[in-house]
Symmetry: C2
Subunit: 197 residues, 2 copies
Protein backbone atom coordinates (compact mmCIF):
# COMPACT_ATOMS: atom_id res chain seq x y z
CA UNK A 1 0.00 0.00 0.00
CA UNK A 2 1.38 3.38 -1.04
CA UNK A 3 1.24 5.98 1.73
CA UNK A 4 0.03 9.32 0.39
CA UNK A 5 1.13 12.62 1.88
CA UNK A 6 -1.50 15.01 3.18
CA UNK A 7 -1.21 17.15 0.03
CA UNK A 8 -1.47 14.08 -2.20
CA UNK A 9 -4.69 13.03 -0.45
CA UNK A 10 -6.10 16.52 -0.87
CA UNK A 11 -5.14 16.77 -4.55
CA UNK A 12 -6.57 13.32 -5.14
CA UNK A 13 -9.92 14.51 -3.71
CA UNK A 14 -9.69 17.70 -5.83
CA UNK A 15 -9.18 15.52 -8.90
CA UNK A 16 -12.13 13.30 -7.94
CA UNK A 17 -14.33 16.43 -7.77
CA UNK A 18 -14.01 16.76 -11.55
CA UNK A 19 -16.56 13.94 -11.90
CA UNK A 20 -19.38 16.16 -10.59
CA UNK A 21 -19.23 17.99 -13.96
CA UNK A 22 -20.52 14.82 -15.58
CA UNK A 23 -23.57 14.39 -13.31
CA UNK A 24 -26.61 15.65 -15.22
CA UNK A 25 -29.65 17.17 -13.54
CA UNK A 26 -33.18 17.31 -14.93
CA UNK A 27 -33.04 21.12 -15.23
CA UNK A 28 -31.98 22.65 -18.53
CA UNK A 29 -29.77 25.69 -19.06
CA UNK A 30 -31.98 28.72 -19.57
CA UNK A 31 -31.35 28.70 -23.34
CA UNK A 32 -32.66 25.08 -23.25
CA UNK A 33 -29.55 23.91 -25.14
CA UNK A 34 -28.71 21.06 -22.75
CA UNK A 35 -29.20 19.69 -19.24
CA UNK A 36 -27.42 21.39 -16.38
CA UNK A 37 -24.75 19.48 -14.48
CA UNK A 38 -24.31 19.42 -10.70
CA UNK A 39 -20.97 21.27 -10.70
CA UNK A 40 -22.29 24.34 -12.52
CA UNK A 41 -25.50 24.15 -10.44
CA UNK A 42 -23.35 24.26 -7.28
CA UNK A 43 -21.47 27.31 -8.58
CA UNK A 44 -24.73 29.07 -9.42
CA UNK A 45 -26.09 28.43 -5.90
CA UNK A 46 -22.92 29.67 -4.22
CA UNK A 47 -22.89 32.84 -6.34
CA UNK A 48 -26.57 33.44 -5.52
CA UNK A 49 -25.84 32.85 -1.82
CA UNK A 50 -23.35 35.72 -1.77
CA UNK A 51 -25.81 38.02 -3.56
CA UNK A 52 -29.02 37.26 -1.65
CA UNK A 53 -27.90 36.77 1.97
CA UNK A 54 -29.90 39.85 3.05
CA UNK A 55 -33.05 37.75 2.49
CA UNK A 56 -32.03 34.86 4.76
CA UNK A 57 -34.73 34.31 7.43
CA UNK A 58 -32.10 34.67 10.18
CA UNK A 59 -28.53 36.06 10.09
CA UNK A 60 -26.14 33.53 8.56
CA UNK A 61 -22.41 32.83 8.58
CA UNK A 62 -21.89 33.24 4.83
CA UNK A 63 -18.62 31.27 4.81
CA UNK A 64 -20.39 28.21 6.16
CA UNK A 65 -23.23 28.67 3.65
CA UNK A 66 -20.74 28.86 0.78
CA UNK A 67 -18.81 25.80 1.96
CA UNK A 68 -22.06 23.88 2.41
CA UNK A 69 -23.26 24.73 -1.10
CA UNK A 70 -19.91 23.93 -2.68
CA UNK A 71 -20.02 20.38 -1.27
CA UNK A 72 -23.77 19.72 -1.02
CA UNK A 73 -23.95 17.69 -4.24
CA UNK A 74 -20.53 16.00 -4.16
CA UNK A 75 -22.14 12.71 -3.05
CA UNK A 76 -23.81 12.57 -6.48
CA UNK A 77 -20.43 11.55 -7.92
CA UNK A 78 -21.28 8.06 -6.64
CA UNK A 79 -25.04 8.29 -5.99
CA UNK A 80 -26.15 10.20 -9.10
CA UNK A 81 -28.67 13.02 -9.18
CA UNK A 82 -32.14 12.09 -7.94
CA UNK A 83 -34.98 13.98 -9.59
CA UNK A 84 -37.04 15.77 -6.95
CA UNK A 85 -40.35 14.42 -8.28
CA UNK A 86 -39.13 10.82 -8.76
CA UNK A 87 -40.91 9.12 -5.86
CA UNK A 88 -39.24 5.71 -6.34
CA UNK A 89 -35.61 6.83 -6.33
CA UNK A 90 -36.20 9.48 -3.67
CA UNK A 91 -36.88 6.60 -1.23
CA UNK A 92 -33.43 5.07 -1.66
CA UNK A 93 -31.67 8.42 -2.11
CA UNK A 94 -30.50 8.94 1.44
CA UNK A 95 -28.97 5.48 1.83
CA UNK A 96 -27.15 5.80 -1.50
CA UNK A 97 -25.84 9.23 -0.61
CA UNK A 98 -24.61 8.21 2.85
CA UNK A 99 -22.55 5.42 1.27
CA UNK A 100 -21.16 7.93 -1.24
CA UNK A 101 -20.29 10.40 1.52
CA UNK A 102 -18.37 7.67 3.38
CA UNK A 103 -16.22 6.91 0.35
CA UNK A 104 -15.72 10.43 -1.01
CA UNK A 105 -15.02 12.35 2.19
CA UNK A 106 -12.89 9.35 3.23
CA UNK A 107 -10.40 10.27 0.49
CA UNK A 108 -9.36 13.34 2.51
CA UNK A 109 -7.14 13.53 5.60
CA UNK A 110 -9.51 12.34 8.39
CA UNK A 111 -10.11 15.63 10.23
CA UNK A 112 -10.71 17.48 6.95
CA UNK A 113 -13.03 14.77 5.65
CA UNK A 114 -14.98 14.87 8.92
CA UNK A 115 -15.48 18.65 8.58
CA UNK A 116 -16.86 18.30 5.07
CA UNK A 117 -19.05 15.43 6.14
CA UNK A 118 -20.44 17.57 8.98
CA UNK A 119 -21.24 20.35 6.49
CA UNK A 120 -23.05 17.90 4.24
CA UNK A 121 -25.01 16.49 7.20
CA UNK A 122 -25.90 20.02 8.27
CA UNK A 123 -27.19 20.82 4.79
CA UNK A 124 -29.29 17.64 4.72
CA UNK A 125 -30.78 18.19 8.19
CA UNK A 126 -32.11 21.72 7.46
CA UNK A 127 -32.01 22.81 11.10
CA UNK A 128 -29.51 25.69 11.25
CA UNK A 129 -30.09 29.17 9.73
CA UNK A 130 -27.24 28.44 7.28
CA UNK A 131 -28.78 25.16 6.18
CA UNK A 132 -32.26 26.66 5.83
CA UNK A 133 -30.89 29.47 3.66
CA UNK A 134 -28.79 27.05 1.57
CA UNK A 135 -31.78 24.76 1.04
CA UNK A 136 -33.95 27.70 0.02
CA UNK A 137 -31.40 28.58 -2.67
CA UNK A 138 -31.30 24.94 -3.76
CA UNK A 139 -35.03 25.24 -4.56
CA UNK A 140 -35.06 28.78 -5.92
CA UNK A 141 -32.32 28.25 -8.52
CA UNK A 142 -34.00 25.24 -10.24
CA UNK A 143 -37.27 27.20 -10.28
CA UNK A 144 -35.50 29.94 -12.26
CA UNK A 145 -33.81 27.33 -14.52
CA UNK A 146 -37.09 25.56 -15.24
CA UNK A 147 -39.11 28.71 -15.78
CA UNK A 148 -36.64 30.52 -18.04
CA UNK A 149 -35.87 27.41 -20.10
CA UNK A 150 -39.56 27.15 -20.99
CA UNK A 151 -40.62 24.59 -18.40
CA UNK A 152 -39.62 21.55 -20.47
CA UNK A 153 -38.49 19.58 -17.45
CA UNK A 154 -41.83 20.20 -15.67
CA UNK A 155 -43.84 19.38 -18.79
CA UNK A 156 -41.86 16.19 -19.49
CA UNK A 157 -42.56 14.88 -15.98
CA UNK A 158 -46.16 16.18 -15.73
CA UNK A 159 -45.39 18.20 -12.62
CA UNK A 160 -48.36 19.87 -10.87
CA UNK A 161 -48.74 23.24 -9.19
CA UNK A 162 -49.09 21.48 -5.82
CA UNK A 163 -45.85 19.60 -6.33
CA UNK A 164 -43.93 22.77 -7.16
CA UNK A 165 -45.50 24.71 -4.29
CA UNK A 166 -44.68 21.87 -1.85
CA UNK A 167 -41.08 21.77 -3.10
CA UNK A 168 -40.76 25.55 -2.77
CA UNK A 169 -41.74 25.55 0.91
CA UNK A 170 -38.01 25.60 1.67
CA UNK A 171 -37.93 29.11 0.18
CA UNK A 172 -40.81 30.19 2.38
CA UNK A 173 -38.84 28.92 5.41
CA UNK A 174 -35.34 30.07 4.47
CA UNK A 175 -36.02 33.27 2.49
CA UNK A 176 -39.54 34.43 3.45
CA UNK A 177 -39.22 37.83 1.74
CA UNK A 178 -38.58 36.08 -1.57
CA UNK A 179 -41.69 33.91 -1.25
CA UNK A 180 -44.08 36.34 -3.04
CA UNK A 181 -41.72 36.41 -6.05
CA UNK A 182 -41.71 32.59 -6.07
CA UNK A 183 -45.51 32.53 -5.95
CA UNK A 184 -45.55 34.91 -8.90
CA UNK A 185 -43.27 32.63 -10.92
CA UNK A 186 -45.38 29.56 -10.10
CA UNK A 187 -48.57 31.40 -11.16
CA UNK A 188 -46.90 32.45 -14.43
CA UNK A 189 -45.71 28.87 -15.02
CA UNK A 190 -49.28 27.59 -14.60
CA UNK A 191 -50.63 30.29 -16.90
CA UNK A 192 -48.08 29.40 -19.59
CA UNK A 193 -48.97 25.71 -19.33
CA UNK A 194 -45.54 24.68 -17.99
CA UNK A 195 -47.04 23.32 -14.78
CA UNK A 196 -50.43 21.62 -14.41
CA UNK A 197 -52.88 24.00 -12.67
Amino acid sequence: MVMMTRLEQQLSFCTELDKLKGILRQSLLMDASRRENSAEHSWHLAAMAMLLSEYAAAPVDLTRVLKMLLVHDVVEIDAGDTFAYDTVNVETQHAREVKAADRLFGLLPPEQGAKLRALWDEFEERQTPESKYANALDRLQPLLQNFYSGGQSWIKHGVTREQVAERMKAVQIGMPEVWPAVQGIIAAAVEKGMVKG
Copy 2:
Protein backbone atom coordinates in the same frame (compact mmCIF):
# COMPACT_ATOMS: atom_id res chain seq x y z
CA MET B 1 -38.72 52.56 -18.54
CA VAL B 2 -39.78 49.92 -16.03
CA MET B 3 -38.39 50.47 -12.54
CA MET B 4 -37.15 47.21 -11.06
CA THR B 5 -37.21 46.51 -7.34
CA ARG B 6 -33.95 45.64 -5.61
CA LEU B 7 -34.88 41.94 -5.57
CA GLU B 8 -35.82 42.03 -9.25
CA GLN B 9 -32.42 43.53 -10.12
CA GLN B 10 -30.69 40.84 -8.09
CA LEU B 11 -32.70 37.99 -9.59
CA SER B 12 -32.09 39.41 -13.05
CA PHE B 13 -28.32 39.27 -12.39
CA CYS B 14 -28.70 35.72 -10.99
CA THR B 15 -30.50 34.75 -14.21
CA GLU B 16 -27.77 36.37 -16.34
CA LEU B 17 -25.17 34.25 -14.51
CA ASP B 18 -26.61 31.16 -16.21
CA LYS B 19 -24.78 32.21 -19.39
CA LEU B 20 -21.38 31.43 -17.85
CA LYS B 21 -22.29 27.73 -18.22
CA GLY B 22 -22.08 28.22 -21.98
CA ILE B 23 -18.58 29.74 -22.03
CA LEU B 24 -16.14 27.01 -23.04
CA ARG B 25 -12.53 26.90 -21.92
CA GLN B 26 -9.65 25.18 -23.69
CA SER B 27 -9.27 22.65 -20.85
CA LEU B 28 -11.06 19.33 -21.11
CA LEU B 29 -12.81 17.40 -18.37
CA MET B 30 -10.42 14.80 -16.97
CA ASP B 31 -12.20 12.00 -18.85
CA ALA B 32 -11.52 14.08 -22.01
CA SER B 33 -15.20 13.80 -22.98
CA ARG B 34 -15.68 17.53 -23.63
CA ARG B 35 -14.34 21.02 -22.92
CA GLU B 36 -14.84 22.48 -19.47
CA ASN B 37 -17.05 25.55 -19.08
CA SER B 38 -16.27 28.57 -16.94
CA ALA B 39 -19.11 27.98 -14.44
CA GLU B 40 -17.97 24.48 -13.47
CA HIS B 41 -14.34 25.70 -13.49
CA SER B 42 -15.35 28.43 -10.99
CA TRP B 43 -17.02 25.84 -8.75
CA HIS B 44 -13.96 23.61 -8.88
CA LEU B 45 -11.68 26.51 -7.88
CA ALA B 46 -13.92 27.56 -4.99
CA ALA B 47 -14.11 23.98 -3.69
CA MET B 48 -10.31 23.67 -3.93
CA ALA B 49 -9.93 27.02 -2.14
CA MET B 50 -11.78 25.69 0.90
CA LEU B 51 -9.68 22.53 0.95
CA LEU B 52 -6.20 23.95 0.38
CA SER B 53 -6.17 27.24 2.33
CA GLU B 54 -3.47 25.89 4.68
CA TYR B 55 -1.03 26.23 1.76
CA ALA B 56 -1.72 29.92 1.06
CA ALA B 57 1.52 31.92 1.25
CA ALA B 58 0.00 34.24 3.87
CA PRO B 59 -3.14 33.87 6.02
CA VAL B 60 -6.27 34.60 3.97
CA ASP B 61 -9.86 35.66 4.61
CA LEU B 62 -11.46 32.57 3.06
CA THR B 63 -14.83 34.26 2.54
CA ARG B 64 -13.23 36.90 0.33
CA VAL B 65 -11.31 34.23 -1.57
CA LEU B 66 -14.51 32.28 -2.20
CA LYS B 67 -16.43 35.36 -3.33
CA MET B 68 -13.55 36.36 -5.61
CA LEU B 69 -13.39 32.93 -7.23
CA LEU B 70 -17.17 32.73 -7.65
CA VAL B 71 -17.16 35.97 -9.69
CA HIS B 72 -13.68 35.98 -11.24
CA ASP B 73 -14.84 34.69 -14.63
CA VAL B 74 -18.29 36.32 -14.82
CA VAL B 75 -16.96 38.95 -17.27
CA GLU B 76 -16.50 36.11 -19.78
CA ILE B 77 -20.28 36.15 -20.29
CA ASP B 78 -19.62 39.13 -22.57
CA ALA B 79 -15.87 38.91 -23.23
CA GLY B 80 -15.53 35.16 -23.80
CA ASP B 81 -12.75 32.95 -22.45
CA THR B 82 -9.26 33.97 -23.58
CA PHE B 83 -6.83 31.06 -23.90
CA ALA B 84 -3.78 31.69 -21.72
CA TYR B 85 -1.30 30.98 -24.53
CA ASP B 86 -3.15 32.99 -27.22
CA THR B 87 -0.83 36.02 -27.52
CA VAL B 88 -3.09 37.98 -29.90
CA ASN B 89 -6.30 37.88 -27.87
CA VAL B 90 -4.49 38.23 -24.55
CA GLU B 91 -3.55 41.77 -25.66
CA THR B 92 -7.17 42.91 -25.98
CA GLN B 93 -8.42 40.78 -23.09
CA HIS B 94 -8.31 43.41 -20.35
CA ALA B 95 -10.17 46.08 -22.35
CA ARG B 96 -12.88 43.56 -23.35
CA GLU B 97 -13.26 42.38 -19.80
CA VAL B 98 -13.50 45.88 -18.30
CA LYS B 99 -16.35 46.67 -20.68
CA ALA B 100 -18.06 43.42 -19.68
CA ALA B 101 -17.60 44.20 -15.98
CA ASP B 102 -19.25 47.60 -16.47
CA ARG B 103 -22.33 46.05 -18.05
CA LEU B 104 -22.69 42.94 -15.91
CA PHE B 105 -22.03 44.36 -12.45
CA GLY B 106 -24.17 47.32 -13.54
CA LEU B 107 -27.21 45.04 -13.53
CA LEU B 108 -27.07 44.89 -9.73
CA PRO B 109 -28.14 47.54 -7.19
CA PRO B 110 -25.23 50.04 -7.34
CA GLU B 111 -23.58 49.35 -3.97
CA GLN B 112 -23.75 45.61 -4.51
CA GLY B 113 -22.41 45.89 -8.06
CA ALA B 114 -19.53 48.04 -6.79
CA LYS B 115 -18.58 45.39 -4.21
CA LEU B 116 -18.46 42.66 -6.84
CA ARG B 117 -16.51 44.89 -9.18
CA ALA B 118 -13.99 45.58 -6.40
CA LEU B 119 -13.58 41.82 -5.84
CA TRP B 120 -12.97 41.29 -9.55
CA ASP B 121 -10.43 44.14 -9.64
CA GLU B 122 -8.71 42.67 -6.59
CA PHE B 123 -8.48 39.29 -8.29
CA GLU B 124 -7.02 40.83 -11.44
CA GLU B 125 -4.44 42.94 -9.59
CA ARG B 126 -2.89 40.01 -7.67
CA GLN B 127 -1.66 42.17 -4.81
CA THR B 128 -3.51 40.94 -1.70
CA PRO B 129 -2.89 37.56 -0.02
CA GLU B 130 -6.45 36.55 -1.02
CA SER B 131 -5.85 37.46 -4.66
CA LYS B 132 -2.48 35.71 -4.79
CA TYR B 133 -4.01 32.55 -3.36
CA ALA B 134 -7.01 32.73 -5.72
CA ASN B 135 -4.75 33.25 -8.73
CA ALA B 136 -2.57 30.31 -7.67
CA LEU B 137 -5.67 28.09 -7.66
CA ASP B 138 -6.69 29.49 -11.05
CA ARG B 139 -3.41 28.09 -12.43
CA LEU B 140 -3.24 24.87 -10.43
CA GLN B 141 -6.71 23.62 -11.40
CA PRO B 142 -6.16 23.86 -15.20
CA LEU B 143 -2.79 22.10 -14.74
CA LEU B 144 -4.64 19.18 -13.14
CA GLN B 145 -7.33 19.28 -15.86
CA ASN B 146 -4.78 19.28 -18.66
CA PHE B 147 -2.55 16.63 -17.14
CA TYR B 148 -5.29 14.16 -16.19
CA SER B 149 -7.14 14.58 -19.50
CA GLY B 150 -4.01 13.46 -21.35
CA GLY B 151 -2.61 16.87 -22.25
CA GLN B 152 -4.70 17.27 -25.42
CA SER B 153 -5.11 21.01 -24.97
CA TRP B 154 -1.33 21.48 -24.55
CA ILE B 155 -0.55 19.24 -27.53
CA LYS B 156 -3.13 20.95 -29.77
CA HIS B 157 -1.57 24.35 -29.09
CA GLY B 158 2.09 23.19 -29.08
CA VAL B 159 2.65 24.49 -25.57
CA THR B 160 6.24 24.36 -24.24
CA ARG B 161 7.66 23.55 -20.81
CA GLU B 162 8.78 27.20 -20.46
CA GLN B 163 5.27 28.47 -21.17
CA VAL B 164 3.73 26.18 -18.57
CA ALA B 165 6.43 26.98 -15.99
CA GLU B 166 5.96 30.73 -16.59
CA ARG B 167 2.20 30.39 -16.21
CA MET B 168 2.58 28.38 -13.00
CA LYS B 169 4.67 31.09 -11.29
CA ALA B 170 1.42 32.24 -9.68
CA VAL B 171 1.43 28.94 -7.75
CA GLN B 172 5.00 29.54 -6.61
CA ILE B 173 3.89 32.97 -5.33
CA GLY B 174 0.52 32.10 -3.84
CA MET B 175 1.04 28.50 -2.67
CA PRO B 176 4.80 27.98 -2.35
CA GLU B 177 4.50 24.63 -0.54
CA VAL B 178 2.59 23.23 -3.50
CA TRP B 179 5.26 24.32 -5.99
CA PRO B 180 7.30 21.07 -5.83
CA ALA B 181 4.16 19.06 -6.67
CA VAL B 182 3.55 21.38 -9.66
CA GLN B 183 7.14 20.91 -10.84
CA GLY B 184 6.62 17.17 -10.60
CA ILE B 185 3.48 17.35 -12.75
CA ILE B 186 5.24 19.53 -15.36
CA ALA B 187 8.17 17.08 -15.52
CA ALA B 188 5.74 14.16 -15.96
CA ALA B 189 3.87 16.09 -18.70
CA VAL B 190 7.14 16.62 -20.58
CA GLU B 191 8.12 12.98 -20.14
CA LYS B 192 4.75 11.82 -21.52
CA GLY B 193 5.08 14.14 -24.54
CA MET B 194 2.12 16.36 -23.51
CA VAL B 195 4.31 19.46 -23.28
CA LYS B 196 7.36 20.23 -25.49
CA GLY B 197 10.57 19.74 -23.43
